[in-house]
Structure formats: C-alpha cells, structure tokens
Symmetry: C2
Subunit: 268 residues, 2 copies
C-alpha cells in the first residue's frame, strides 16, 4: 500500500485553487499526496474548491476543526492574513508548514513552527483558466535541510522548473512580476475599454500583444521597445493626450509612461 502524505490547505483563492488540483492525488514513487482539508474564512470558497476535488475532502471555516497531525500545512492566502493564521495554529500542528507568498520572509513564519518552507509559483492564476502546472517555475526555500529535501521532492513532482531563492530574491521576483504582468494586464484592461468605447472589438489587439511577448523570447525588452515615445514623435503624443483629455487618470498614466520611455532613449 502506498504511503500517504496528508495536506491541509489554508486558502481557496486563485493560487490555492490551482495548487489543490495539482497536489491532490499526486503520485511520487511510493507516496501519494492527498488534500484532506481546505480552510477559508467563510468556508464557502473552501467548500467550492473541495467539491471540485471529488469525494472526501473536508472544508471548513473553523481552524480548530483542522487535523493537527497532517504532513503539510499549505498557506495560500493573502499575505496580510498569514500572521493571524500562524498565531492560531502555532504549537499544535505537526508536519511542514509551507507558504506560497512572493513577498513574505521565511523567517516570519519560522517563529511559529519548527519545519517551515516556501513554495512560490511564479505565475498568474485565474480560477477559470486551466494551466499546465509542470511548466510553472517554482521558487523554494526552507528553514533546515530535512525540510528542504521534503520540499524539493514535492516541488520536482509538481514542476519541471524548480529553483532555490532566498526571501530577498523572491521579493524581487514578485515585484518584477507585479510590474510586468499585473500592471500590463491593467493597461490592457484600459485599452480594451477604450476600444469598446469607440465601438471597436475589445480583442482587436491580440495579434499585437501576442507578438509583443513573442519578441521578448528573442530580444531584451529595452531593444523591443517601439511606439511614439521611443521615436520621440511628440506630434503623436500630443494627439493621444488630446484623445485622453476626458479621462484624466488615463492621461496622467500616458504622460508618465511616455516620459519614462523618452528619458530612457534620450540618453542613448
């Protein structure tokens, strides 16, 4: 019979959702990982997530109902919800504690538990969009060697791309991810809305966006830069600012980002 490693998952948001599906019933040699319990503050999203994993996964909004002898406690919640959870669970669970946060130091968790680590997936997760977890870069860290070995086994079973990163490196990765991904997605949201406001299809930009990213597989982003600010084409910039005049926040963003690009290429 297979050995089972039981996982308690705290959180039921985007990361928890994808991680639960990747972890549950994962087989590694003689070991099978199973998610036994999912916690969320209201219990509702935990229940939704548990139901997608099939029978026998327990969901709750009550921390005291969680097993205290699981092999893993995986914390996949907003960073600002972590300290409260850790305080409540401190000194009465076994196993390894793992958080998935890009911007939380490992040592901030280690004071609550003796075997702690980080498994940070550098990816953007939305519940409705299925992902191939094996290609997601995982950045791991642990507070001692035996925990590290445990996390390495788990990480390599989940993904083909596992890296070690200190808390400091992980923070830089997370900031870079927010700048490049979350903020780009926001700018694309604004662009889609502008198109809709002009009765144009909001997805008209897809071929452009596909190529923008495709180029980055071959060129540093700085070399791939195009557009009026790069060309110092002030006439176009003025026309665009005029179009955005009725949306002052958009106008301010346009001005600031164009200025940043122009300064960068003025030097060169």
């Amino acid at each position: 019979m297979k050995k089972q490693e039981r996982i308690v998952l705290l959180g039921a948001g985007n990361v928890a959702w994808h991680l639960a599906r990747a972890l549950h019933l994962l087989n590694v040699g003689e070991t099978e990982y199973i998610v036994t319990d999912i916690y969320s503050p209201s219990g509702v999203t935990a229940c939704d997530l548990a139901s997608t994993l099939g029978e026998g996964v327990h969901s709750t909004n009550d921390l005291s109902s969680l097993p205290q002898d699981a092999d893993w406690y995986v914390f996949a919640v907003r960073d600002d919800a972590l300290p409260e959870l850790w305080t409540q669970l401190a000194h009465h669970t076994s196993g390894t504690w793992l958080h998935t946060s890009g911007s939380t130091d490992l040592c901030s968790m280690t004071k609550y538990h003796s075997s702690t680590g980080v498994l940070y997936p550098l990816q953007t997760f939305s519940k409705g969009k299925v992902l191939d977890f094996s290609s997601i870069p995982l950045y791991i860290e642990a507070n001692n060697e035996s925990t590290q070995a445990r996390i390495e086994t788990l990480a390599h079973s989940l993904s083909n791309e596992v890296h070690h990163a200190s808390s400091e490196a992980r923070m830089a990765l997370h900031v870079a991810a927010v700048l490049s991904c979350n903020f780009s997605n926001y700018l694309i949201t604004l662009a889609e809305e502008l198109l809709s406001a002009h009765q144009l299809p909001s997805k008209a930009l897809l071929p452009l966006l596909d190529e923008m990213i495709e180029k980055l597989h071959h060129l540093p982003a700085q070399e791939a830069q195009t557009g009026p600010a790069r060309r110092r084409d002030q006439m176009v910039i003025e026309r665009h600012l005029k179009l955005l005049h009725n949306t002052p926040e958009l106008e301010q963003l346009y001005r600031l980002l164009s200025e940043g690009i122009r300064k960068r290429f003025d030097l060169g």
Copy 2:
C-alpha cells in the same frame, strides 16, 4: 508579361523595413508590385534597407531624385515628418499616396494629392525580428472609391485580416496599442532590470508573461487581473514600495498603477 506597380517608399524605420519586404516582388494575379526607390533623410537607412531587397532598388536622401510617375508613394515615417514631405512632393507625383500612421487623419494628406489612403498595420515591428505579414491586421481608409479599390487589392494581398477604419477609429486603435503594447513593454523593461540588479535572470518572467497573454484569449483583461492591488493586499504593496524606495520613478509608477487597479475593484 506581368504588369508592374512601382512603389516609392518614404522612410526606412521599423514599419518601412517590414512593409518593404512584404511588398517587394509581391505577385497578385497579373500584377507584380516592386519597390523601386527608398528615401530616408540621411539616405543611410534607406541604403541599408534597399540592400536587403536585392539588386536594382534605388535609395536616396534627395526627394527631387525620386520618380514622379510611380504607382504608389508609401509614407512610413514618424508622423511629425509627414507634413514636410507632403509639401515638397505636392502637385508633382502621380499614383496613390498611402500613409501608414495610426494617428494621422486621412484629410490632412488629401489636401496635397488627389488619390490618398491609409494602410495602418496594427503590429509592433522591430527590424531584427521577422514577422508573418499575412496575419497582421491592416486597417485601411481611402479618399475615394477607386483609390479604395486599389488599396483593398493591395491590403488583401498582404494580409488575411483587412478592416476598414475611419481616421477617428484608427486613432483610438493607436492609443489602445500604445497603452497595451508599448507601455507594457516598458514595464517589462523595468522588471527585467530589477531582476538583473538582484542577480536573477532577466528572462525569468517569460512563462508568466506568456500565460498573461494566453489568458486574454479566453477572458476579458479585467477578469484576468491578479496581484496584490486586485486582492487589496496592502501589506504586500507596502513591502514592494519599500523595495522600490531608492528608485522614486518606479515607486511613483507602482503607486499610481496599484491605486488604479484597487479603485477599479473597490467598486465591484
């Protein structure tokens, strides 16, 4: 023998470079398009581009040396260089004038010539990166029906995706392209530099960026939004701002964009 349509290309930047390669020796039924002349202000980039097209393409920095009886005059230069070129060539060329600008009204060209139109490729072009022109969306406009028919033939020969767009719609497309593509590329540049500054590989974000765009094929950008500002995770935002404290411009951008995202989801 094939009928030839002779093209004079004004400009030798990124758009001109890709357009020249797509147009030169293009066969459409009994017609062959050939680029006969390329102009650039210094003549140097025109010479470089001409040499990539093979023998017999003339390059110059002298407008008066251009043929006056070509079939097409294609203006692919910075918008603020257009009026001067048009003034100099007005009333002594035949054929159809075409500009490729997203943000220049057709009527601003029509006062210089009787057959005018626009062929705006909605794509980001870098000289070193080869592209499949047939999948680039082309937005066209013309000042009369016969010119429109000529441009339609040309555009459908270049691309499988040809749309009509008024000058106003084209301007909105261009602003949306700058917001979504040029500005995202700039943010990715900043992210790549941040990673390098922390001794991390600058291309570590590629799987994330690939997925960010992949998601947009399935979801509106607003629904695809993730990150600390979306989750209103103020603790993470503060930590990131602290990391960016020594780069005030980056800090300001982070603050402004996070604020924009947060406001948007505060309403929902």
